[in-house]
Symmetry: C2
Subunit: 387 residues, 2 copies
């Protein structure tokens, strides 16, 4: 089998494999530019490495998928994944790193189960459907104080907040740093004083630089910038451990998981391995600062094309525009759909906007090559002539 990238813009062979002694097939396969909001594009370098070792990793004689999570074959993988992530993010020793399951959606409940045991109330900023899902989940476990919301503007901006509305006794303060559906991001973090800042960073972790010492807890589903779905990264400051409610399932208790090194139960071993390869790749590209520069560059190319277009306009307020999810639409749905179809023919796929916003959404995570973004920007320009 011959893997071939063959879009409108380039065609390179990315891999050839023969099976069972004989050459069984030689098929040219198109690799597309995948703008999916998640699960999304993964670096080809990561995929090639995983492919090469899929039947035998190192000298183990087995696939990573077949390894006991407690074996001497697997331990170095999860340890290396943690060490690399710490290096990329510059985490201090007072932070613990966990590789869990269940995605951000499970964290929506796991966070209050573990933290909402002081005053029993938490502050949330309502900046999108996922932020809303997170805060609705809290009502099962305690009180919720919505300090700001942009729901009335269909979440097309980050809401303004007034520090007077913050509860100084809140058990924590929750934000969603990047809102995947609308394409907005927090350009400044709220000043929360001594209240622990908790962030759902699912869609921009490893793509934006943050001072992590500002956070008490950060969580992220892997399927955008970290690896495949099924892995959830949780970074927790150690003073927040030991506070879980009695009803917390053992496997959802952060303290238990810290004690057991993410292995109270069997973790998603293969997903963590792909995350490890992704972290290696991120460091090879120059780490977080390089990733963040590249993210801004990719986003700028698209926003420039949208702002120059007479057909499309951006969805999000300019000051709040995301570097990860670029949302835009024309004056009517039929034109949007035509654009999506035309793009697909050119190997530019998964750009249909979320149903609650409509239009187009191009998710440009770390593994999206600049060439892919240039191809889409070029299409925006060319499309104008045909409307």
């Amino acid at each position: 089998m011959i893997f071939l990238r063959q879009t409108a813009y380039r065609s390179i062979i990315v891999g050839v494999s023969y099976t069972h002694r004989t050459i069984r097939e030689a098929i040219f396969v198109k690799r597309v530019y995948n703008f999916s909001a998640g699960p999304g594009v993964i670096s080809e370098e990561v995929l090639l490495s995983a492919q090469k070792d899929l039947l035998c990793y190192g000298n183990s004689g087995m696939s990573v998928m077949e390894m006991s999570h407690r074996s001497s074959d697997y331990t170095p993988i999860i340890e290396r994944a943690e060490a690399l992530l710490r290096e990329i993010l510059g985490l201090s020793d007072s932070y613990k790193v966990l590789f869990l399951q269940g995605g951000a959606s499970l964290q929506f409940a796991q966070v209050p189960m573990n933290l909402l045991t002081g005053s029993g109330s938490a502050d949330y900023i309502d900046s999108g459907i996922f932020a809303k899902k997170a805060l609705d989940e809290v009502r099962k476990y305690g009180k919720i104080n919505v300090v700001a919301s942009s729901a009335a503007e269909n979440y097309t901006r980050i809401p303004d907040w007034n520090e007077k509305d913050f509860d100084p006794h809140a058990d924590y303060f929750h934000i969603t740093t990047n809102n995947t559906i609308y394409g907005t991001r927090f350009s400044t973090l709220p000043e929360v004083g001594n209240v622990p800042l908790v962030a759902d960073m699912s869609s921009n972790i490893l793509a934006e630089e943050y001072d992590f010492s500002k956070f008490g807890l950060v969580y992220a589903g892997a399927q955008k910038n970290l690896g495949p779905s099924g892995v959830t990264v949780v970074i927790i400051r150690e003073d927040l451990l030991g506070k879980a409610m009695d009803i917390t399932p053992s496997v959802l208790n952060y303290t238990t998981m810290v004690k057991e090194g993410s292995m109270y139960n069997t973790p998603t071993t293969f997903g963590i391995y792909i995350a490890m390869l992704t972290f290696e790749w991120v460091l090879k590209q120059g780490g977080l600062s390089a990733m963040s520069q590249l993210a801004k560059k990719r986003a700028q190319i698209l926003y420039d094309a949208i702002d120059a277009s007479t057909v499309f306009k951006g969805v999000a307020r300019k000051e709040d525009r995301s570097f990860m999810n670029v949302t835009f639409l024309s004056s009517n749905e039929e034109i949007d759909n035509r654009f999506v179809s035309k793009a697909k023919k050119e190997g530019i796929v998964n750009i249909k906007g979320h149903r609650s916003v409509g239009g187009i959404r191009a998710s440009i995570y770390n593994a999206m090559p600049v060439e892919g973004v240039l191809a889409l920007a070029d299409l925006i320009k060319r499309f104008e002539k045909n409307v």
Copy 2:
């Protein structure tokens, strides 16, 4: 790269791959016989198929790992996984199939959260450490009635039970069909009348034939017979839906997950794909009846070798011996360790017993070739001469 199976018993090339136009390396790689208790061995056919398609699945232009879970590329994969599993197990329409996350350990809490809302009490048989973990978790959500326990015999047998001890008003009755650590299995199911029978089938699903209409709910972590870790299969009879406690996280509510087709949140997409390939492979081998015959054959080869040995004796009571996990030990630890080391040199790995039992444990899941079992049985015979 040349993948070579090279154990004491055979050496076959299982795959060759070239990268980037040129042959970069030609390395002979040993594939071992992996007796890990889980995550465990996966069919080489499944791994080769996943390897071939790792950069591009079908005409999608992307890896399965990169697919949006709601895309037209991915939907056929999860639908096919469900259809094949239904076919293998012979499930009627009154059962719903879910692909979830968190493993059996999360089910230990999720089951009571969803079902313990009638009388508020459940019956459990305590047949091993995992059964014990399951029943300890229930105490957070209601009452527990331990109807039988073999804890006093270090779980080396399935405990006897007396139907008089069953609570006819229990919300459900829980068993662990196969106990991985001790190598025991339920050879008959308790007669529970109208009380829903709930089974943790993690370590023998797809390897033993059951009349599934006897169960109200079955759950299984994937990492033994279904695929890689990170996927949990739940099979639930529809009359058990709609009973969840208010404190149940949305993502842990079976009813929500049934409504959303396992996609209230992003499932472990790649793991479900490997499960689909595994189900295809199981059907190609002849389905559940063939798998079950093969399981008995593999187990018999090892139990015969153990029973003929003057060095080793079986751990589990004969009537309760597992077809999946074969546990045995010698008169002292030093001999056991010597056996484990000798086996490793012959490419027979991960046979050290669980710390709570000691000795040897050979886990012989569906993907373990009979040749591997013959190699281990032969070693048991040869070893005797050297003790």
